[in-house]
């Protein structure tokens, strides 16, 4: 036995030595930001990608005409200035004369025109196409001017143009069919290499018209397990990381050398009811569900309180006090009364679907809701699904109820026209037609005065909460964790990492 013990000892010594060598070999780089995230980008075509990580990566490489700052105000990107005509039917952009693609070519009005025509071409399969259908034609009168001629006044379109899904790409690359295989943008960083689900290497673009980037580059590692990201931060292998799971994020401040920043996001957690299925067809039943749910309690239990209760409008400029909305104070007696009014005093059974890991707290949310609804006799059966299966089921509208985390937009019309207008693309998922909601949406679309728009959407929100096709719960945070020597990052409610252009890594 002595022999094998010796062998065991020898191997462990050798392994320990190797381990030590490996950790010592990590270079302490001051110039390149080492970043980690758990979910990698899924592709490089800025017009086709909608996954969170893809957008975050592509925002560093490509640029739209305009972008949103951290207060969600529209600021210049490739366009220096812009203007709506009196009648709201032409939108004119002046381009930054210094804007250059990473292949050295200037960004011209022809590139802008080609990019938007690509988005509008059905053969592209661009998901954001629906936001730009009012574009009738695009003119390029001179070297720096682009004119969009619209079929109707379309105020929300300008906000939609801030998305990287409306990025300006080189016309030559469209022609060559290389969008999505090569990433050539005009943005602050060049993508030097990408190994899917492993890493991205970005280097600063010295020709970026937007200014000077403070780091030499960014190396992004994909560490699929967020606990491992936390460990990598603790051992200083990583300078900056994105964190999704609130349970992991709340552990970051325990470490003296780390900083956590939370930014409220526009995406909202919601319990979607299906008003085309019995008994959710009954207004009273839907309202009873709304009254029976304690939103703060779901938030506290499932998300450790990491968020804020919200109504349908999650953007800061339109957000109102949710306490004023229908039944945002839990009222079980009223809920029971409503159930009785609808003839369901004995309750009913229903199935709620939720996606595994998306959000990470989905299962916990479903369980808390299950226990709260049990108090008014509703027996919920929770069905957890793999994300793709969930998406497929969700798109077919094939559920009684769904726990969802839906993306938000900076503009209420762009955010909700898909669900609550009669010809919305996802009307069949929401399954609820309401004349008031539809007409308020149309009013909001054409109104250019901010205060009047705000009033219109406030009415919209109050009505939506009252008819309760869905039960809006809360918004969470996006988290970034960083070493204390990483300075200058400004997070944004859109989740963009564009703030990395201002980041420097100190000693």
């Amino acid at each position: 036995m002595g022999q094998s013990l010796m062998k065991k000892f020898a191997t462990s010594v050798a392994f320990a030595a190797a381990l030590g060598a490996a950790t010592a070999a990590v270079p302490a780089s001051a110039e390149t930001l080492r970043m980690a995230w758990s979910q990698d980008a899924t592709g490089l075509d800025p017009h086709k990608q909608t996954a969170f990580s893809s957008l975050r990566l592509l925002e560093l490489v490509y640029e739209p005409l305009v972008r949103l700052n951290a207060d969600l105000e529209i600021i210049p990107a490739i366009a220096e200035s812009w203007e709506f005509s009196e009648d709201g039917k032409t939108l004119t952009f002046k381009l930054d004369a210094d804007a250059k693609f990473q292949n050295g070519e200037k960004v011209t009005p022809a590139d802008v025109k080609a990019s938007f025509e690509r988005v509008l071409d059905e053969a592209t399969g661009a998901a954001a196409r629906a936001n730009f259908t009012s574009i009738e034609s695009i003119d390029t009168p001179d070297e720096t001017t682009v004119v969009f001629n619209l079929s109707q006044p379309d105020v929300p379109m300008l906000t939609a143009m801030t998305s990287i899904n409306a990025a300006v790409v080189p016309a030559s690359e469209i022609e060559a069919g290389t969008i999505g295989t090569k990433a050539i943008g005009s943005g602050p960083f060049k993508l030097d290499s990408w190994e899917p689900n492993q890493k991205e290497v970005l280097s600063a673009n010295p020709d970026w018209a937007g200014g000077e980037v403070k780091v030499d580059g960014i190396n992004i590692s994909v560490l699929p397990d967020e606990t491992a990201i936390l460990a990598a931060l603790r051992t200083k292998q990583v300078d900056f990381a994105l964190i999704n799971d609130p349970l992991v994020a709340t552990l970051v401040p325990n470490e003296a050398s780390l900083e956590l920043s939370r930014t409220p996001v526009l995406a909202y957690h919601v319990l979607q009811l299906n008003p085309s299925r019995e008994p959710m067809t009954e207004l009273a039943v839907r309202q009873a569900i709304s009254c029976a749910i304690d939103r703060q309690d779901v938030l506290d239990t499932a998300l450790l309180g990491e968020g804020a209760v919200t109504g349908p409008l999650t953007m800061p400029a339109y957000r109102s006090d949710p306490g004023a909305l229908f039944c945002y104070e839990r009222d079980v007696e009223k809920a029971k009364q409503l159930m009785a009014d609808a003839g369901y005093e004995d309750g009913f059974s229903a199935t709620v679907i939720a996606a595994t890991g998306e959000p990470p707290t989905a299962a916990a949310e479903a369980q808390v809701i299950q226990s709260q609804l049990a108090e008014i006799g509703i027996k919920l059966d929770i069905k957890m699904m793999e994300l793709n299966v969930y998406v497929d089921t969700w798109l077919k509208g094939d559920f009684d109820m769904a726990v969802a985390l839906n993306g938000g937009r900076a503009d209420p019309y762009s955010m909700y026209n898909r669900y609550w207008t009669k010809d919305g693309n996802l009307q069949h998922v929401a399954n609820y037609i309401d004349d008031t909601l539809d007409s308020l949406m149309q009013e909001g679309r054409v109104e250019t005065d901010f205060d009047k728009r705000k009033e219109i959407f406030a009415k919209f929100e109050t009505h939506l909460a009252e008819v309760s096709p869905w039960i809006w719960l809360y918004t969470g945070y996006t988290y970034t964790a960083q070493q204390k020597n990483v300075k200058g990052f400004v997070p944004s409610p859109t989740g963009t990492l564009f703030g990395l252009t201002e980041v420097s890594v100190g000693e």
Partner: protein
């Protein structure tokens, strides 16, 4: 050799069966490459947009046509192109395989180096306290899920000692062996311990069986030293179940180890297959499952050949 030829001839048949199974099952799961890419935004596509994307992903034709096209390519060694990597499937697999093979070999070395001596030791001290200790250890090893071990190891190292093997930037063995081993040691130990526990238990019980056989009693009666009885007479026979177990386990490890690769951010086959399934990268799923099946068959064949070497009484292929 006749046996070997016959075994090899069954390979294409099994592969064909596997290919049909994986082809059909991945398509039966709801969702496709388009929902994987766009999520719920896929609902915003117009029918024409959808058709264009289906053509792009090669899922616009009927299943039969798709399968036929794929099979025709596969026979010639062309497993298609992965839509997530934008590279030929075989290239993607071969890039990942060395890591998986290395991890499997390291875990097996750890498992046998610990498990075999421990099992034999326990068998020779049957029912004594030291035997009991080994058995309890083995039981714990086998019943601890490997993610618990992995996360515990990461936590203890990073919080307790402030060190951690570099994660995310994987270094191949040939590039820098020391750094590579540093990155592989924790995952290999994680997998190796559970594997060692299984080896311990099976080698202990096999050894106990053999030690009560007549020929061992004869050997002892003839005055053969105890050490020699164990190592020369008993061990070769006791190895048969160990080889079976190791073969099966090794075959599994070659298919990649999703959880361990996930936690340690290793770019191995397991994570690749998982990501391919989640992103509905059909060509990559089909190609890699086929590759894993082939590995499994080869390992099984090697195990059967090893039996014949360990025990001359076993005649392969004899009726």
């Amino acid at each position: 050799m006749n046996y070997l030829a016959r075994r090899l001839m069954t390979f294409p048949l099994v592969m064909l069966g596997v290919s049909v199974l994986v082809f059909v099952s991945i398509r039966l799961v709801p969702g496709d490459a388009i929902t994987a890419m766009l999520g719920t935004e896929a609902g915003l596509l117009t029918p024409d947009q959808r058709a264009a994307l289906e053509a792009y992903f090669g899922i616009d034709q009927g299943w039969f046509t798709q399968y036929w096209r794929w099979l025709a390519g596969a026979v010639q060694g062309d497993l298609g192109v992965s839509v997530t990597f934008g590279k030929p499937v075989l290239d993607v697999i071969l890039e990942r395989f060395p890591l998986t093979l290395e991890l499997a070999l390291l875990s097996m070395v750890i498992a046998l180096a610990i498990g075999l001596p421990a099992g034999i030791f326990a068998a020779t001290r049957n029912e004594k306290p030291s035997d009991l200790a080994v058995r309890i250890f083995a039981m714990i090893g086998q019943s601890t899920p490997n993610f618990v071990f992995a996360l515990l190891a990461i936590y203890v190292l990073s919080v307790g000692f402030g060190v951690l093997p570099a994660m995310g930037e994987f270094t191949p063995f040939l590039e820098n062996p020391l750094r590579n081993l540093g990155q592989m040691i924790l995952p290999a130990l994680t997998l190796g311990f559970a594997f060692a526990a299984a080896v311990t238990r099976i080698s202990r019980s096999a050894m106990l069986d053999i030690l009560s056989d007549d020929y061992i009693r004869t050997a002892r009666a003839k005055g053969v030293p105890a050490r020699k009885v164990i190592w020369r007479h008993a061990l070769p026979n006791a190895l048969i179940p160990v080889v079976t177990l190791s073969g099966v386990e090794f075959g599994y490890l070659l298919g990649g180890t999703v959880i361990v690769e996930q936690i340690f951010a290793l770019p191995g086959l397991g994570r690749m297959v998982l990501d391919a399934i989640l992103q509905r990268d059909y060509a990559l799923v089909q190609g890699s499952v086929l590759f894993i099946a082939l590995n499994f068959m080869i390992v099984n064949l090697l195990v059967d050949l090893a039996y014949a070497m360990l025990d001359p009484r076993i005649r392969l292929g004899a009726k």
